[in-house]
Symmetry: C2
């Protein structure tokens, strides 16, 4: 194989500048410390990243396995409980709190510790096999919030980007570590065929006017099922509100758990420097 | 003065528990490290706080004055510039980037270093006097972004919660440190009487049907001018879009700069552990 030609469109003269100068194109992209990379990740400035920076694997490992991750989680849950205790409930039992699953109710650290803490790209096959084991431990801070909310009379709703084919394993895992008595367990559909697709096709076939036919054909596209997390989760939260529930709180490790109306009255961002879900 | 009676509504028996136990009301509210407090602040979990925890004054001071604050800012701006350089512009000059002022274009560290880095409650009088000096230095990272955007052909729009009575001082400060050639400088109105109030009252007086009269009377209420930052800033961004601008980016140190549709195509959260604006 011939050596690839280097042509990134950058004038050669730039190559003579020091790599870590304070100005210029290269300087601007100088490495920031892993701690500042994490700041940009946790504040939703860095998006759509596939793996953590290779140089930060040790940093992220120390963060996750040492006390830092637990301490950050504790600060978030302390505030969530303090907020929940301040609420005046209606007494009609319609108040719910939305919980994400991965890195929220349960911790997948046993998996990620063996996969570079996010330094390896996401692998559907190996992570799927791990999820099917239903062996993930609870995130202790989230468990503390979960139990306190139940004692207060606020019902937990589990809302996860895991697909329906993981329903049994997910329910088993949650029950095994003590998450019981939730109001609903909502997962993404398992295939790329969206719910209502059959009735959509039926409507398409029964229409006669040309414009409506074209429009409904577009609406029926099975690939619409590849819905992003924000769209899926905010849609499910809207359904909860339409059903009369009041979402008083919403906790997750990804901004895609917490953005998109209706977000819930308050949102609580747990730490997760290992992966990004958009 | 008599000593105040201690009655915080907590049963006395709780006083016998260890202050830092892992369970129970006191344990749950045990102090988290200042670094974890900052995590909860920067991810919009902690809200409506008036001052930093007294025990964190030294921590926040070290964060702001040492390299950490600058390093976190650098990570955010590196990503913003990388994103801006990836954009395909229309060539019609309608792309704008929204900048907040305090702790975004300019740094008020000279003021906050003398006021406990947020350990003292916000003081309109002393901060107002400082702002009128128009002496705040530029945040160097934001200046780098500002200049790069102008070179790319993206127009800066300055959008601040400072009131109109600070327009002259703010413009003078921005110009003095090198922020020139912006498209607009948008500030909050100076009084509690909203813009359009006079015409609102005129419409109210000229209406005869009862329903409309009641409705317009409500709409004319001067206290509506006490608009929160999210409402004010998203309203101004909507006006920009209505005028044909495309907000490709939005940078600020407060979540109230970045939340509320239309947010802009991408948001960039600069660090600020010193104060909260809701």
């Amino acid at each position: 194989m011939p050596a690839p030609e280097i042509d990134d469109g950058m004038p050669l003269i730039h190559m003579l500048r020091p790599l870590l100068s304070s100005g210029g194109r290269l300087g601007r992209r100088a490495r920031v410390p892993c701690d500042s990379w994490r700041f940009a990740v946790e504040t939703n400035t860095l998006r759509d990243w596939k793996t953590i920076p290779a140089r930060c694997e040790k940093y992220v490992g120390n963060y996750m396995m040492g006390g830092h991750y637990r301490s950050d989680s504790r600060a978030v849950v302390n505030e969530a409980i303090s907020y929940a205790e301040s609420l005046k409930l209606s007494g009609e039992g319609k108040e719910v709190w939305v919980f994400d699953v991965d890195e929220t109710t349960v911790s997948n650290l046993p998996y990620y510790a063996e996969h570079g803490f996010g330094a390896e790209p996401y692998n559907w096959t190996t992570f799927g096999a791990y999820a099917n084991e239903a062996s993930a431990p609870a995130l202790p801070e989230t468990m503390r919030l979960y139990k306190r909310l139940q004692a207060l009379g606020i019902k937990p709703v589990i809302l996860t980007g895991r697909r329906e084919d993981k329903r049994e394993a997910t329910a088993k895992n949650l029950a095994r570590v003590g998450y019981t008595g939730y109001e609903k367990l909502l997962l993404k559909y398992a295939t790329r065929i969206p719910p209502g697709w059959l009735s959509c096709v039926h409507a398409f076939l029964s229409r006669t006017d040309e414009l409506m036919t074209v429009r409904s054909a577009i609406e029926c596209r099975p690939q619409d099922a590849r819905v992003h997390s924000v769209e899926f989760k905010s849609g499910e939260r809207q359904k909860l509100e339409d059903a009369g529930y009041v979402i008083v709180g919403n906790i997750g490790d990804q901004w895609s758990d917490l953005l998109g109306a209706p977000e819930g009255d308050r949102t609580f961002k747990l730490p997760d420097p290992m992966y990004y879900v958009g």
